[in-house]
């Protein structure tokens, strides 16, 4: 990849992820976060909450599996034993944009896991997922004109209950179709292990449930062999622009302990810029005009190089000797500095 291309990509795509995570310009009304037990979405959700706090965005958490209100969440809505209509009503009631104390007109709605809702045996027969999600983004009442961003987490490893109507698309297909951005999360250490295997043309390793080993749900161990201290989340982002074009990029979100909660600058980097993922030695070979430094002068002048190319090494001729015994001769052209004695020396 040409360096120009990379730096172009870097500028654009880092701006994009920054916009998405900080909810600027309503870049993505509906973000779908696909996580798994190997890389849960909680660190990413925390990052969303952290940034929302910095820019004073109102945060609502619709809790299908969270027990207690996490830090930084303004409205915590438990969904236990509630109908979807009630949930929607409560979410819309949780935020009053008219309040003077709240100058911001932006709000973030997080759903910690959509799977329980999709698998529920209790949902009303008329439940319609697109309109349920849509009711958060575009509230029906005219007074509430806020920019709402919805972030929905979906656990990929939780199996889906079979559809009552076999012809309707599965919920995950619906979600991926509706979402403006899809973030698939991977564990950095696993990505590194898989890359290392690919670089050696080996089958990439699988982790956790994919191992299909009896009794194993999770494989995440702190020190995965050979990856050192690889911490962080790899985000595979698929974003649909307003123009309709798609963007695909891989990012790395460092662990929250690496920066202060008030940190303003962008912490996310491109995965390709990471030294562990792309070791820097490749950079050296690409940069052609720099010489390795040494105490010796290893360079040649043009003339020296021409002369060096003109030298015919002795064994060149020796290779096409025809007769028997011809092969091993040493051919030597006498120079003026040779002190040749006819009687003693022989060739």
């Amino acid at each position: 990849m040409a360096p120009v291309n990379l730096s172009h990509r870097r500028t654009h795509n880092l701006l994009l992820i920054s916009k998405l995570l900080s909810l600027r310009d309503t870049a993505s009304p509906l973000t779908l976060v696909l996580d798994s037990l190997e890389q849960p979405a909680t660190p990413l959700l925390k990052e969303y909450i952290r940034r929302a706090k910095l820019s004073k965005v109102h945060v609502t958490l619709i809790a299908f599996e969270t027990l207690k209100q996490p830090e930084g969440v303004d409205a915590f809505i438990s969904t236990r034993r509630k109908s979807t209509a009630d949930i929607a009503k409560e979410v819309n009631a949780a935020y009053q944009p008219a309040a003077a104390s709240n100058p911001s007109r932006r709000r973030l709605i997080l759903i910690d896991s959509i799977n329980p809702l999709l698998n529920s045996k209790r949902v009303e027969p008329g439940f319609h997922l697109p309109s349920f999600l849509g009711s958060f983004i575009a509230p029906t009442s005219a007074s509430a004109k806020v920019d709402a961003s919805l972030v929905v987490t979906y656990h990929q490893d939780v199996p889906e209950a079979p559809q009552p109507n076999p012809y309707t698309p599965s919920p995950i297909s619906v979600l991926t179709y509706l979402a403006t951005s899809i973030m698939t999360l991977h564990s950095f250490s696993h990505v590194l292990a898989q890359k290392a295997a690919r670089d050696r043309s080996l089958a990439p390793p699988v982790f956790g449930l994919e191992e299909e080993q009896e009794g194993i749900l999770l494989s995440r161990l702190d020190r995965l062999a050979g990856t050192g201290t690889a911490e962080g989340i790899v985000i595979e982002l698929e974003h649909r622009r307003k123009s309709g074009r798609g963007v695909l990029e891989w990012y790395l979100l460092p662990p929250a302990s690496r920066y202060s909660p008030q940190h303003l600058k962008e912490v996310v980097t491109l995965l390709d810029d990471n030294v562990l993922y792309n070791p820097p030695m490749e950079q050296d070979t690409a940069a052609g005009d720099e010489e390795p430094t040494s105490t010796f002068e290893l360079g040649l002048t043009d003339r020296q190089r021409r002369e060096r190319e003109g030298v015919v090494l002795p064994y060149f001729d020796a290779q096409h000797g025809d007769g028997p015994g011809e092969g091993g001769r040493i051919l030597y052209d006498m120079g003026e500095e040779d002190d040749f004695d006819e009687e003693e020396d022989e060739i």
Partner: protein, 347 residues
Amino acid sequence: MPSQPPLPPLLAPYVSTLPDSSLTLISSILGATSNWLVLRFLYAALSSASPNAAFGLDELQNGAKKKVVLVSFMRSYDFWKTEAKRLGLDLTRLADKKQFAFVDGLSELFYAPAATATPASVSPAGMGSSPRTTLPMRSPPGAVPGRSPQPVRPTATAVRGNLAKPAESGIAKKLHFTGRGLASLDALEADISSVIEQQKSSMEDGDELLLIIDQPDLLLAATSPSMGIGATEMAEWITGLQQRAHATVLTLATDAPLIHNASTMSGQLATPIETEHAALAIGLAHRARSVMQLRTLDTGAAKDVSGVLRISRGGGMITEEDNLEEREALYFIQRDGGVKVFGRGES
């Protein structure tokens, strides 16, 4: 072989300090059961001697007493009593001191013996109702409130003349599954909650209540989705109980057929029992703070190893900085009930 300390040092940090509103998941399989680990949790919470001077971290527990409510769906009180005695815990005495309460989910859950139950409750609904009735969700709501507050203990001890009476004395409540659908789950929840509240009534500030539910997945397996009980409903049921306790420990089965048959990769059509179980187990792992996975040795049985214990972080959102170290260790259960936990290559 020397006798082992009741709490193996390697295990102690994982079973003795459970943060507020945390969920710990213990997963077991057919050949590697979890009862011994549950007993270590009991021991860590209930043993009167301060939990080992070796761990200086435990100064939190000065004065603060822990109480335990154990709900067991697979084992009788006799079993827990006998096994706890091997560790030096007298459950009956602890129950008298209101430090421990046992909720019996085995003996009368699906079939109440005619002698103990009133004639009214031996209705067909109490004896494993069939899922093939035409009206699945119509349970008479009146049956539930009538059922739950009924004190079971006096009748039970009075009639079971030929049983050892002390066995009954420690049982706080026997659970009954009556009716169908959510109403029956609610009744169970009410029963368990009443025991929890009873325990809490004698608690002082700083006391912690640990709730251990042994194999709630049985409820899911032995009912059916057509009765309106699925993974989501079970998970909500657990959430409801979790909210009342300081920390919760759950045991679940994670045998390969129950987890992997439902994954899309297996290619075959999964039965509802498999789909729902996988959804419950994986969904709970997403909520858990830590997942303790038990399995048999990958290399086959060995004489001095019972199985492998892997402790991983779950997907749960933990508000404060939580330093749970992930690790994998072997364990060995001796004939005398002592447990040795050691790393690979150690002994």
